[in-house]
Symmetry: C2
Subunit: 321 residues, 2 copies
């Protein structure tokens, strides 16, 4: 019997490594996680991934791995497969593609994790069937990815699609981890929403948001959206600010690419229409009319699997047959 | 003797049609212009182009035209070669590619004029040898084009690369022809610079800029740059505003694409370093550090030939062999 040809998708995070076997139709056949071993500047990560993969594929005698893709949290030299720098992991100019290929014995493609997740949505998620797709991931930070003419845009230094650092507030914005101020990451990330919520709580100590903050001793982006649903004015003001700058940022990218879709993923996007509806309204205001009429804004559909599916998909595209 | 294979490049404007025979190395072998016949909603334009081309190629018995490219002033359905709408010409859903192919008897590729000029700079101009290129054309309006992974970005509705309508001033900006307000076109086009200059002249009636305005009864972008060179403070304030918003806009596009280069063309860009130096400074401020370090800003190099060279180049790419 001929063996089924599968792809291996790997999504490296600071805490866990997500792994999946994915068939050529983009369906996950098996998935699991291992802890990310940060010891010795991440030097053990690749060999631990390889051991785990070999162990797991042994349970599937009817399948064979033909190629692998891996997303890493940092800018990547796509041609050579080197990670320029992955601060959370400890890598610097790390030859990830070469190391993985040597350990696994199959062709490997390496990219930035946000690009891999975007490619997942493009291959089998909310962006399936598009020619041009923009993904904006609203998590602890804000990441992104751009697919133009069905190809990921990497740029000269691996920073293509780094949409979290588009300047939403040119003057007087909050400081960002990147060294600039006013990046959309300082506003529309989970962290940014919490920061804005705390500012509003100070101004409106009688609000439902303030009440919840004092009850819990903390506040999350999820709390903010729940308080908006309870008609809390202070919370609505925070949401309006987030939506305005996110809509403006989406319009900037939309005016560049005029993609079929701009897709929002990450934890914050789970708020769904309560966030998306006002973002769409501001997008309509700030996008070139032709773009406003043709580019669709919606939520991502693959959730946490986007990274491994995208990594497998890119491996399939680059090395599949 | 075997005939030399040439490309035909056509750049359609509201007043003249620029035409050129271009060899496969991107060198112009012959170029000329004919007036744009706007009668009857532009229905005679294509046949007049074809007559002129046939007449001119007859003077070159050693050459044969193998393909043609044409840039048109309006959004284009790149797949079908139809012009959605070209207001200045009178076309609406006009099958330009099909008409030209039928008249000329060679394969034709059609695109937006700004995209063609960008492709010219990519093929044989300031962007030669790049993988990802952004062009911003500062003329009467502001146009643009994006080449990612060596392919023009068209978008779902032909508005990809419409960089003139990126919102530079989200609130309180000047009205733009597109229906929005605060587009970079309202600031960094020749028209925008004149508008800002007149505002400043009202505020600073003693300035050199005001003096020149009253002497001439009018003011141009060129006057503004000349007055800056004469240390006029009012003019420096206008330039600073233009440079700030243009640097911000370039940073938005840079943060999306991280291109090898962002290239400025069009009449206003003839100001050269006096404009580019402050634009670069603001770009550094607003671009993601990795982009600020790697993406180069410079002037376009093909001048008014960019359109015909780009059209010929795209014809070569699509249909050449």
């Amino acid at each position: 019997m001929e063996k089924q040809e599968w792809l291996l998708g790997i999504d490296l995070g600071g805490t866990t490594v997500k792994l999946a076997f994915v068939n050529k139709e983009g369906i996950i056949e098996d998935k699991w996680e291992i802890p990310t071993n940060l010891a010795d500047n991440g030097i053990h990560i690749v060999s631990e991934i390889a051991s785990s993969v070999k162990e797991t594929i042994a349970k599937w005698p009817g399948a064979i791995l033909v190629a692998a893709g891996m997303g890493a949290p940092g800018p990547v030299d796509f041609e050579t497969g080197c990670i320029y720098v992955a601060v959370n992991i400890g890598w610097r100019n790390y030859p990830l593609k070469a190391s993985l290929e040597s350990e696994l014995g199959i062709p490997v493609v390496v990219d930035n994790d946000a690009n891999m997740a975007s490619f997942g949505e493009f291959w089998k998620g909310a962006g399936e069937g598009t020619n041009d797709l923009v993904c904006i991931t609203l998590g602890t930070g804000v990441g992104g990815g751009i697919i133009a003419n069905q190809e990921l845009v990497h740029g000269i230094s691996g920073a293509g699609g780094e949409l979290g650092h588009i300047t939403a507030i040119p003057e007087g914005g909050a400081p960002c981890n990147c060294g600039k101020t006013g990046c959309i990451e300082t506003i529309a990330s989970a962290t940014g929403i919490v920061r804005l919520s705390l500012e509003e709580i100070n101004k409106k100590p009688e609000s439902l948001l303030a009440k919840r903050y004092h009850e819990q001793g903390m506040i999350t982006a999820k709390d903010l959206f729940e308080c908006v649903e309870h008609q809390d004015e202070a919370s609505a003001a925070v949401l309006d600010k987030v939506a305005k700058y996110l809509g403006l940022t989406a319009a900037h990218v939309g005016n560049c690419i005029n993609p079929d879709k701009i897709v929002f993923g990450g934890g914050v996007s789970r708020a769904g229409e309560i966030l998306l509806a006002p973002v769409r309204a501001y997008f309509q205001q700030f996008a070139f009319p032709r773009v406003a009429e043709s580019t669709i804004l919606e939520c991502a559909s693959l959730g946490n699997d986007a990274g491994v599916i995208g990594a497998a998909g890119l491996a399939h595209k680059q090395h599949g047959n």
